[in-house]
């Protein structure tokens, strides 16, 4: 991961916000490198700074210490190479589905015919070409999120950032869209960073899983998802890996806690005590663990 080809390099990243006049540290000493075409999942409880990390990678906020380099160049502002899907679909309610997708093309003056073709192609990709002229208020939550995915893809970005994109959806829709995300990212071959608090989702989609801990947000460990893990939610290897992640998050303490975690960074980041776990034990709703257990 440390060779010159890393698509994204985050080094010693520190970020603080001022809350009521006092600085609050939200990210502390975060190091990450992401290879081209990789699917990286970031899991962590609320408040661990994972969404802030995405905002910084996007270039929405330039006040931080450390460095963020995309293809070797420091990030200064949002660019067409990086796009994002927010948790709330954030479609513009006064535009039709096709106009919402086309809004992402506005910055580079594409001709009318090409614009139509691109919008069409990406609506077909998410299976919503029949709803091109509908307004967002006429769509279900899952459909709206698919439109947001089409909007994020229409510029063929090299980076797709997903900020809990399925977090607001019901369990069944979420499972279906996870498969859709998997298919789309595999087909388009872009580098993807998924922020989620759904451990199953992180394991199911990621090539690697970054586990983050809160206050201040920092990387607890990075786990590689072995290629031979059959990506079936009921596979024993899948369940083992999921339990390992839960262990790092401080859930399932005891039986699921990792002894020999697969780390690809110095083990110093490991929190040796159950201290952090106590505060977070209740943060992951039982439903997340339940989704993966159809047995």
């Amino acid at each position: 991961m440390t060779d010159g080809t890393a698509a994204l390099e985050v080094r010693r990243l520190d970020k603080s916000f001022r809350v009521a006049g006092r600085p609050v540290r939200v990210l502390a000493d975060v190091d990450l490198s992401v290879a081209r075409g990789e699917f990286l999942s970031i899991v962590g409880a609320s408040g661990c700074g994972k969404s802030t990390l995405l905002r910084l990678i996007l270039g929405l906020d330039r006040e931080f210490d450390g460095s963020i380099r995309v293809d070797g160049r420091p990030v200064e502002r949002p660019g067409p190479d990086r796009s994002i899907v927010f948790q709330d679909h954030r479609l513009l309610p006064w535009l039709t589905v096709e106009a919402n997708v086309a809004a992402a093309l506005r910055h580079r003056r594409v001709g009318r015919a090409e614009r139509r073709a691109l919008v069409d192609e990406h609506l077909r990709l998410v299976g919503l070409d029949r709803f091109a002229t509908a307004y967002p208020a006429q769509l279900s939550g899952g459909m709206a999120q698919r439109v947001a995915i089409a909007r994020a893809l229409v510029n063929r970005p090299r980076f797709l950032l997903l900020d809990e994109p399925l977090g607001a959806l019901d369990a069944l829709t979420r499972l279906r869209l996870q498969d859709e995300l998997k298919r789309i990212t595999a087909r388009e071959g872009m580098t993807t960073i998924l922020v989620t608090h759904d451990v199953d989702e992180a394991v199911y989609l990621g090539d690697r899983i970054v586990v983050m801990r809160p206050s201040p947000g920092r990387v607890a460990t990075i786990l590689r998802v072995p290629r031979d893990v059959a990506r079936s939610r009921s596979d024993p290897a899948f369940i083992r890996l999921r339990d390992e992640v839960l262990g790092w998050l401080g859930v399932h303490e005891g039986e699921g806690a990792p002894r020999e975690p697969r780390v690809d960074r110095p083990a110093a980041a490991r929190d040796p005590s159950g201290r952090a776990g106590r505060a977070r034990a209740g943060l992951l709703p039982a439903a997340y663990a339940a989704i993966g257990d159809p047995r």
Binding site: L60, G79, S83, R90, L92, W94, R106, Y135, P136, A137
Partner: protein
Amino acid sequence: MSGTASEGRAWQAWLLPAALLVAWEAAARSGLADPRFLPPLEVVAARLRTELAEGGLAGHLAASLGRDLSGFAVGSAVGVGLGLAIGFSRLVERMLSPVLLVHRQIALFAWVPLLSMWFGGGEAGKVAFIALAAFQPTVINTWQGIAGIPQGYRELGDVLLLGRLGFVRLIALPGALPRIFTGLHAALIYAWVATIGAELLLNVAPGIAGRMNEGERLFQMDLLLLCVLVLGAVGVVFNLGAGALERRLARWRIA
């Protein structure tokens, strides 16, 4: 379904006006009220017929409406323009918002003497007063409409690389439009009220309120009451028209 149900009950809105008309007629005919002060309905209706036949009322109504609409056009154009400037520029907001907040505290009719000194009691003074009435609700609502664009949409504009123009065109204007329209709707009503006020308080000129003055001076209660009914009817037409246009422009909300 709810549409047909509420349409089925639309007659309920007419109950009170109908009751008032019946009470009016009963009072006038029973001798309970002096018919010199409250003439029966058919006398007012007869007056309407003669006014329409001789062309007097239509001309006066046209004069009032012309004055009203030119004041509305000037006032709301300045109001929307200034509201947009305040909404988009922090500098303009810091400079103008305190003045506007004070301006808002001054009763509209307090401007009449001042405006009549500056613009005279003729047509210019009247239109200036009507424009001021239309200005107030449009500037505040336009400003608030832009200020109320959610932070998430501003961020979206950055992420989609819309640029300043694209942000205004795709996010700010459509997002603020319902609020701007609320302001224009209120301005339409305020301007009509101001039209009557200007005609009553400033120099006599052709117009509905001019006819009311005439009715008062000549003690023609039928003319006076007819004018009041015409004023109300114009207000209702403005309201219905603005409401229909508003629903059409915001069809994405009903969906």
